[in-house]
Symmetry: C2
Amino acid sequence: MPHNERIGSTANSINDIIQALKVAQNIIILPHKFIDGDGLCSAMALGLALESLNKKVAVSIEEEEIPNTLNFTSANRLVQKKASIDMMVDLAIAIDLGDLERLGSRADIYENAPNKMNIDHHITNSIDADLKLVNSEAAACGEIVYEILKSMDISIDKNIAECLYIAIATDTGGFRFSNTTQKTHHIIAELVSTGIDVANISHRVFDIATYTKIKLMGKTIENMEILNNKAVAFTAIPYDFINELMPSVDDFEGLVNIGRNIEGVEVSVLLKENEPGVFKGSMRTNKYVDAAKISSAFNGGGHKRAAGFSIQGDLKEVRGILLTEITKELSEHKPHTQENS
Amino acid sequence: MPHNERIGSTANSINDIIQALKVAQNIIILPHKFIDGDGLCSAMALGLALESLNKKVAVSIEEEEIPNTLNFTSANRLVQKKASIDMMVDLAIAIDLGDLERLGSRADIYENAPNKMNIDHHITNSIDADLKLVNSEAAACGEIVYEILKSMDISIDKNIAECLYIAIATDTGGFRFSNTTQKTHHIIAELVSTGIDVANISHRVFDIATYTKIKLMGKTIENMEILNNKAVAFTAIPYDFINELMPSVDDFEGLVNIGRNIEGVEVSVLLKENEPGVFKGSMRTNKYVDAAKISSAFNGGGHKRAAGFSIQGDLKEVRGILLTEITKELSEHKPHTQENS
C-alpha cells in the first residue's frame, strides 16, 4: 500500500521501512508525552513484533504515569522511563507524533540516534527523519503498525493483537468516530480472531473510572443548568470542590460531553475554577454554533465543535458574560430546522 | 452456512427460508415488545430488503414508543402499531424472540398467519413456526438478516446498512461484549463501506441522553457510598426525587453500572424507591461475588453478575440488611489476588 504518497519530502516506501527495521538491532520506540492509547499501544505492538525478531527493544515514555485504563497488558513490561534506558540505540522510532516537541525531555534520544524513523498519522507532520511513514488516512498508528507487521510477515499473536486493538479502539472512540473505516473493521476482525478478551479489554479501557472522576461527574450534573430553551448546558466545578478532591487531569476528561449529549443541547460549557476566581472553560457544540469563535472572545480557541478559553471573575458575573456571547451566537446561527442532521 | 444446526425440531435450511420469502407477497415482521435496537432494526432491515423485491411489508410493534435513540432512520416509516395494520398477511415473521409471550398483544397476528417464520439468536427458543432460522452464535439478529440478504443476492444499500449497523452495534454494546466475533467486524466493515454516517449514528444511539436521565445519574452519584474497603458501591434514588422527575423506564438503564465501573468495586447496588418504603434493587458484580445468590435472599434472582430483587422498609434498615448479606458474600469469596483478571 502506498502509505507515503500523502506526505512531503521525506516519505519512504514501506519496503525501506521494513529494511531499516530488519537491519537495526537496538531499537527505542518513542511515543508522545501525555501518553494515550494509540501512542502507547502502537509503540508496544511494534516493540513486541521486533522482539520476536530477536531485537533489543524499549518503549520509552515521558516521566508520567501510564493511565490505569492502559496499564494492564503484558506488553507494559517493554515500557521504560528515560532515566532507566541503558541501551546503545541504533534506531529511534518516533511514533504517533508529527512534532518533536511532543517528545518532551526525550527529544534528544531521537535527535542523537544514528537512524531516525517516524511513523505517524497526523495531517501536519514536521519531523525530520531518515525514514518516514505517515498516513493521515489511518484512523490510528495501530493501523499503520498492523500494515508493517503484515508486510514483514510477522505473526500477530494475542499479545500484539491486544495492543493493536487498544490502539485502534481508543483513537476511533470505540469505532464510533468518523475516522473509522471499512479497513479499520477488517483489521479488528483479524485481531479479534486471535482470541483476545474483547469484553475485558473494553471494560478496562472504556468503562472503569476512578471514584474521583465519578464525583466530578456528580458535581458537573448537580451544578448544571439547562438554558436558552434547552439549547445550552452550563455548569461549573468550584475551586473548593477541586481543591478537596485533588483530581488528576484524566479525571476531568469528557465531563463537558455530559451536557453536550443531552437531547436538544447545542452548546455545552464546563467551567473549572482552577484558582479562586480563575476559570478554565471547555465548550462543545453539536451542529451549528462555532465554539472557537465564542472562545476567541475569551483568550481561547480551538475547533468549531470543541474549544477552550480562560476567564476570570466572580462566577455569577463570568456566567453572565459567557451566556450573553452564547445567546448571541445561538440566535444568529440557529437553523430553520435542526432535525435529522 | 449451517445456521440451523444448533436448534431442535423445526430448523430449516437457509434455502427454505429464502424460498418462503420469495413466495410471500404480504409480509408482517414482528419484533418483541419493549423494543430494542436489534429487534427493531433487524426487522426494518429485512423489511427494506423485502420491499426492494416489491413485497408489501409492515414492521408491527407493540403499543409503545420507539426510544429516541432508535427513532431517526428513514426505515422507521415501515413501523406500524397493531391497530393501524391493514393487510392480508400471508407471511408473519417473529424476529429476535424465542417465546411468543414476547409479542404481547400481537401474538394473534403471528398465530393467525397462514405462514409463520421465526428468525432468532436466543439460546432458548420455544416458538412454533413453519420455518425457523435460529443461530444462537450470532451476536445479533442483524447478523442473521445480513446472511439472509447475502444469500438472496439483495444489494445492501445505505438505508439497510444503517439498520443492520444499529442492530449489531446495540446488541454487542458497541462491539464491546463477548458475543462480538471476527465475523461481526467483517459484516460491519461491509456496512461501513456503504457510506453510512458512523459518527452520527453512534452519537444518536450511544451518546444522547434525556436531561431526566442525567439528573438520575447525578442523584445516583450524589447518594453513592463506597464501602467495604472500596469493594461496594451503594446508592439509592428516593421516592420523592423519582416522583417529581417522572422518568421513563429507559432513563434508569445503566445507572447501576456507574458504581460497578468504579476502580476496585466488586459489588454495585442501586435501590429505586418506587413507592415510599418499597425498593426495587439492582445488583452488579465484577468478578467473584454471586449477585443472584445475594438477591435470592430478597425475593429476587438473575445471573452471577447481574441480578435484581425487592425489599421493603426504612432505607436505613434496608441498607443495613443488604450490606450484611453483601459483606458476608464478599468475605467468603474474596480471592487471594484480584489483580489482572
